[in-house]
Symmetry: C2
Subunit: 395 residues, 2 copies
């Protein structure tokens, strides 16, 4: 009797809806391209953002008492229109293929839609939506052997704190117990952390697929945030995204920001992270078998770490993060390969091939790549990883 | 030159703030108890929610043009007060120890604060904050051997789709390659998914610590969402959380909800998930070495799956999810142990010991547990796992 009463209570109060949006490995189904469909990051039952057949995106947001509601797509705000039912709607221009961050501005307050999954970007959480790419099969989960993504913690003496890492081990790592593997250290961009190369970057899916095709030599990937402070180190200041002034509403003044170097993270990597990885995983720990790459600010971290430690790294990848010149490399014999890429809509795209040519002429094996019709966003970096990975650890 | 121009661009536009809030293994530092401190889920630089020394919580939210702003703590809204600077503040009553969901109501719109990490609950994303527990060391990351949390995907024939799982493998799993392990299938609550037992539940940290103390026999944990639909199956309807009417603002009518059973998920588990786990991990695959437990709705899933499959499961745990009566168990010889628990603030707490006594008298080994001073929230379930785990796989 007590039991049944409790069960009725439970049924009444605690059965909520189920959810299909799931961080890490959200299903992206290319059979829905050319058909209007909910974005795959929407929680179950949430139809909006709706991806239209022509890659426009329709947003819907209930805020009956707000004066102005905007949706900010990749940090650019667009006005929504209020309906008689208090629901605001907006349909965007066609969006580029791939993942895009967005958030809501409700009467100038930056907020997230709770009905869509959240992902770190711009130093805070963002909502996300996904536009199908006709050539996006390389990051679709397939019936091939799958590696593991591991969530681990390790203690850093440099920061005197536990730090969080994501590690990809390739298919077969668990069973080929006498095999040792090369390692790629893969960096996020500014305001992101170790999660993004799995959640938006789909690193494990991309590598599983490339390994299955025989295009990539299996390797381990280590992802960690470059945010690192020593005890007592003064932290960088906080910065909010810019907010466009709105009619009748004054935009709040942005909070101060601070520029910082990557000296502490370099110490973390060299003294704490790499020793932890090499002693806890079956790695090949010489420079010939260690690579580092990163996107945007992560490209700067990659430069800062690798160019001053060429005895530890021989493969370098910079995605949407500037270029490397011959003079930056003190000992050319130690660099196996430099890879530099941009999305075609980025200003850096025009110079990346020339930069690679200059390096090549200086005797450093170099590759460049420009992702067609993409900006400073994840599709450029998924594709960059797809181009970079087959070049690794082949010598 | 091009390079330096690009770098200045990068520095100007793309270096955002760094972040310390990180899904999965957020640091919880008990040295900050009895001291006002930012909640550990805040992104870097965000001081609010601030946990006060007496476990009150101060919220701060910038919404200069809103008429009414509320913060909803565990689905109960509280009015915030607007300051001259357009910033709304509220300091709560003292909160129970542990993790709590919250969200913002800005002029009746349910939204999330982007400066605090988001976690699934109530069928959508929520913000979270954490109150230190003087006895919370059992879920604090310690310098003991750590197991792995694996993010994996597998294909379910029942749903005809890829499904996402989190798997905990205990310390030593990677190196003791001839050892096979028992398995606990661990279920989330209504409106949650496979992430929560790691992100809020801290299952890996709890088990690492208990294993290090010699209190728990090492076992594998498998976490999956019970949300499962066969192709063509009619989905359950969506329900939004209730919203309290506000002065001058009409609360939107809640969307329809739907009750549903767990028949499809039972098929997924028996026909797809368990075979995948037993063929891809070094498990002990007999009923003596398989347990299932869940919280709230997950307790109902556990009942639905285990009580109809006693040849496959011999350990059963129900956390804040009702009780089991002797008549529910068809073959008492097949059940090694039943564990039932509640938070002391839940209505079910008063009956759980009696329910265990009745089972015990009927010849079924049973344990009950009531978590002191906690409600239908995560602290009850972290503690329940801590009490349940040492009872497993000892016979």
């Amino acid at each position: 009797m007590v039991k049944h009463f409790l069960f009725i209570l439970l049924i009444t109060f605690f059965i909520s809806q189920i959810s299909f949006a799931q961080t890490g490995q959200t299903l992206i189904n290319y059979s829905v391209a050319d058909t209007a469909h909910p974005s795959p990051y929407n929680f179950y039952g949430a139809k909006y953002p709706q991806i239209e057949a022509d890659s426009r995106v329709t947003f819907r947001f209930e805020a009956p008492y707000a004066k102005i509601v905007q949706v900010s797509i990749a940090n650019v705000p667009f006005d929504m229109v209020k309906g008689d039912d208090g629901v605001w709607t907006y349909t965007s221009e066609p969006q580029d293929a791939g993942y895009h961050n967005y958030w809501m501005l409700v009467d100038s307050a930056i907020v997230l839609d709770p009905a869509t999954d959240a992902f770190i970007g711009y130093g805070h959480n963002c909502n996300g939506f996904e536009i199908p790419d006709p050539d996006g099969g390389f990051y679709e989960i397939k019936d091939v052997p799958h590696g593991n993504v591991l969530i681990r913690n390790y203690f850093s003496k440099t920061t005197n704190s536990w730090r969080h890492i994501y590690i990809y081990t390739p298919p077969g790592y668990d069973t080929n117990i006498s095999t040792r593997y090369p390692v790629l250290y893969l960096q996020h961009g500014g305001g992101e952390d170790q999660r993004v190369w799995i959640e938006m970057g789909r690193t494990n899916v991309i590598l599983d697929n490339l390994i299955a095709e025989g295009k990539v030599k299996p390797f381990i990937v280590v992802m960690e945030t470059s945010a690192a402070l020593k005890p007592g180190e003064i932290p960088p200041m906080r910065r909010l995204p810019r907010r466009a002034p709105q009619s009748g509403q004054t935009a709040p003044s942005p909070l101060p920001r601070m520029f910082f170097t990557f000296d502490t993270y370099k110490e973390v990597m060299i003294n704490d992270l790499i020793p932890f990885i090499d002693s806890n995983f079956r790695t090949l720990s010489d420079a010939q078998n260690r690579a580092m790459s990163g996107l945007s600010m992560g490209g700067m971290v990659t430069r800062a770490v690798t160019l001053t430690n060429l005895d530890m790294f021989s493969y370098i990848g910079i995605f949407s993060g500037g270029t490397i010149a011959p003079d930056d490399i003190k000992d050319k014999s130690k660099v196996k390969l430099v890879f530099m890429s941009y999305g075609s809509r980025e200003r850096g795209a025009s110079g990346v091939k020339e930069a690679a040519d200059v390096l090549q002429q200086a005797g450093i094996k170099s590759f460049s790549y420009v992702s067609p019709n993409t900006a400073h966003e994840w599709q450029s970096w998924r594709r960059s990883l797809k181009e970079f990975a087959p070049l690794l650890f082949n010598d």
